[in-house]
Amino acid sequence: MLRFVLRRLIQMVGVVLVLSVLVFVWLRSLPGGPVSALLGERGTPERRAALEKALGLDQPLPVQYLRYMERAVQGDFGVSTKVLPGEDALDIFFARLPATIELSFFALVIAIALGIPLGYLAARRKGTPLDTTTVIFSLVGVAVPVFFTGFLLKYFFAVEWNLLPVSGRQSTGLDATRVTGLFVLDGILTREWDAAWDALKHLVLPAVALATIPFAVIFRITRASVLDVLDEDYVRTAEAKGLTAQVIRGRHVLRNAILPVVTTVGLQVGALLSGAVLTETVFSIRGIGDALATAFRDKDYPVLQVLIIAAAAIYVLVNLLVDIAYAVIDPRIRTR
């Protein structure tokens, strides 16, 4: 098991290295750049050249890359040019990470808490109105873009019915203490219950909006997987043995049906990260997605490099965790 984990970690380093070259070259091959973003209409050729030189962008690409790597191995990934000028790009990543983790976590909880039970129920009651309704509902979840779902949620729940806040992470003037940057957890840890409750209320709409796609995927995979398992001989055997329905469901159906679902959940982390870009923008959440959108618009190379590579690393890491979870659930994988 340890060797398996080690091997995967080494692979991860390789992925990150290759990706760093690709991202570096790709960003610089895009038209425009930080100089345009910084100078706007005021950029004369002379001032553009001065800024390019100051930022080291007048050097050939390989030289730029080597300089970047030279600093990067010392833990210096450069400073932001526009997202938060002067701030260390890596610090921006860590400062923005909690918001995205909090949002993705709640979205994933919603997606799993609804997707697995509903998928199971839909499979058990295949062909009934419950099955049809949930299938249609999940299809809509996949088909409607996040910004539109977000807009509708905000319109009804925040503007029309005034039940929840429109956007942001916490109300202004709340004077909340920050510990981990996960606002709900911070409120609980410091026993500032009003702050925790306020942060939780802010999370509901964006988490629901972000959860729609993972929910739909988890729901459909669970449904299909349970349907497959229900047809298996061992289920029929268990029924013939006279086992109670509860034992059959728990020990035979769910346990076997859950494997593909776990893989799916791992893959959904990638979907969550990309969904976060839109969700965070639409709900004014200062997370990784929002930073990515700003950095991309303003061509903030150092921030983009750190965020893209870190996002990829997180993705690889989460899938490693999924594989480990797999091994725990299915003993056959451990021995391979």
């Binding site: 425009g32 750049g33 005021r42 100051a54 400073v79 526009k82 202004t172 061509k299």
Partner: protein, 555 residues
């Protein structure tokens, strides 16, 4: 996982949380529920986060909107206009040749840190701005832009020296007279900051680091003289809070707290306003103006201080070197219709390359009459019927002078095609190469514009045509390019204001009647919107609203 193991993990998680909870202490002050006082809070929805809080190195509107509430310049702008008025200086007089300016200062001003504001502080500020290291010279963009150079290159610098001749009298020497001085002292970047705080925070300690600049501590601990003091920047929550300066020399701000909330998405800003969680935001989409008014908000339309133009590049397309061709294109465009159908209420047809609020505006110039038939004739006379034009517009951008570039472009393109011009559509995103391509002369024609920095004719037409080598209109390819640049510089150096305005009026007429280096199209008024109960917002043509006069419902 079995139910037993699930329970075990849950219990473990609960224990861990409880242990952590015992180490985390609340920072809240007992009895203070947050917020800063009792006269209400004005919450403004900002489209982006500020870059930093030292206006000297800042470059964008979202930063200046925040710093403007905390800092003041020697000269100010009359709320609601572009007119220059006294702020920290009560009077300013030039010597005969306009190179030495004596500023008489207010004697009742202190900085937020308690330091006195006096002539020495003024000179310390000028010297601080002038004396920048290599990185500072690039980052101190506005100074470079208006003053030309820094201490290491004094020959090319407009600013020469500052002397405190009395406790409240400072003399600033410049290299030559220009319409921009002292008006440029209204620029947010050139605000007065506490010399002590500048020194203690190592304000000039900017350094190039990798592909960016690292800024000193001072950039996040600003100390000015304005009606609000810096409170806190809660980066994780995207809010900036400022508190009322109770020791302000003028009328104290009406609200005790001013908060800026970063809300990048325009429709979300609107929803926040409708839900009552913010009190106002900038640049509402013109299509929403009516609906916003109907739901009880008030849309405050500013006077336009900008210009949208169609730029030519006679260098890349020699047919454009013929005045007849340019004149044909000029009357081929139906500006009246464009303004009515594509631009917000209050927009106007442009008759020259500056709005009427700027000194030097020529009131006698008329908008060219739309005449497609005559345009075709002119093109035929020039032997350019059926000419091809690469004509470009930017994507992923909205500017006060062009809320929707693509729509404007389509209208212009239809007009050009109607007189037989073959338009080759070109486009690029704003930060993704559009501006680069315009500067590099890659398009025969393009749409672009300008929002003025301050009330100076040179800030408009000087920027466009005053520098022969570096301008987007390719005037160096024209026989009159040099003459125009020289005339602009000469007019700019006239000390007497009336005489100078007259000279600029004449140049404006010449540009439109003899040169026509591009086509001025329109001036478009940007708006801001505030919710019910908000009073005292004075819309500024320079989008430089000061929020100390604002009060919030019932308070």
């Amino acid at each position: 996982m079995t139910p037993k193991r699930t329970m075990a993990s849950l219990t473990a998680a609960l224990i861990a949380a409880a242990t952590l909870a015992s180490c985390a202490e609340s920072d809240r002050d007992a009895g203070d529920g947050g917020g800063g006082g009792d006269d209400g809070t004005f919450i403004f929805g900002a489209a982006g986060a500020p870059e930093m809080f030292d206006p000297f190195y800042a470059t964008d509107g979202e930063t200046f909107r925040v710093t403007r509430q905390m800092f003041e310049g020697l000269l100010g702008i009359e709320p609601g206009s572009a007119e220059v008025v006294p702020e920290l200086a009560t009077e300013w007089t030039p010597n005969e040749d306009g190179t030495e300016w004596t500023f008489t200062l207010r004697d009742d001003v202190t900085f937020h840190d308690g330091e006195p504001f006096n002539a020495e502080a003024v000179c310390a500020n000028f010297e601080r701005m002038f004396d920048q290291n290599e990185a500072g010279q690039v980052a101190g963009e506005y100074w470079g832009y208006v003053m030309g150079a820094f201490a290491n290159d004094p020959d090319n610098s407009l600013y020469q020296s500052c002397e405190a001749t009395d406790e409240f009298e400072a003399v600033v020497t410049i290299s030559g007279p220009t319409s921009g001085f002292p008006t440029m002292l209204t620029l947010e970047s050139l605000s007065m900051q506490s010399p002590k705080a500048l020194e203690e925070g190592d304000a000039n300690g900017i350094a190039a680091e990798g592909e960016g600049f690292s800024f000193p501590d001072y950039a996040n601990n600003p100390v000015g003289t304005g009606p609000f003091t810096f409170g806190e920047y809660d980066e994780a929550n995207g809010t900036i809070s400022l508190e009322r300066n109770d020791d302000y020399w003028g009328d104290a701000a009406k609200v005790s707290e001013l908060v800026f909330r970063v809300i990048p998405d325009e429709s979300t800003r609107r929803q926040e306003l409708e839900a009552g969680s913010i009190n106002g935001y900038d640049l509402p989409n013109p299509v929403d103006w009516n609906a916003l008014e109907e739901s009880g908000n008030s849309v405050e339309i500013r006077d336009a201080f900008n210009i949208l133009y169609l730029g030519f590049n006679p260098d890349t397309n020699p047919q454009l070197q013929d005045l007849k061709v340019r004149q044909a294109l000029n009357i081929a465009i139906n500006r009246e219709q464009l303004v009515q159908t594509q631009l917000p209420e209050g927009a106007e047809v442009a008759t020259q390359f500056m709005p009427k609020t700027v000194s030097g505006y020529n009131t006698e110039l008329q908008a060219p009459e739309y005449d497609p038939e005559r345009a075709k004739e002119l093109l035929a006379e020039a032997g350019a019927e059926g000419m091809t034009l690469t004509f470009a517009y930017p994507t992923e951008v909205s500017r006060p002078y062009m809320p929707d570039p693509q729509k404007l472009y389509e209208a212009l393109r239809t007009d050009l095609e109607a007189v037989g011009v073959n338009v080759e559509v070109k486009t690029a995103s704003w930060n993704g190469g559009y501006l680069d391509n315009v500067t590099a002369g890659k398009y025969d024609a393009y749409i672009l514009g300008w929002t003025g920095d301050y009330d100076s004719p040179f800030n408009f037409i000087g920027t466009f045509f005053g520098n022969l080598k570096e301008n987007d209109f390719g005037t160096s390819a024209m026989p009159w390019g040099q003459q125009l640049a020289d005339d602009l510089k000469a007019a700019d150096a006239i000390v007497d204001e009336e005489e100078r305005s007259a000279a600029f009026e004449e140049i404006n007429a010449q540009i439109m009647e003899e040169y026509l280096p591009g086509l001025p199209i329109s001036h478009s008024p940007p708006a801001l919107v505030v919710g019910p109960g908000v009073e005292g917002v004075i819309p500024s043509p320079l989008t430089a609203e000061e929020f100390d006069t604002v009060s919030v419902g019932g308070e």
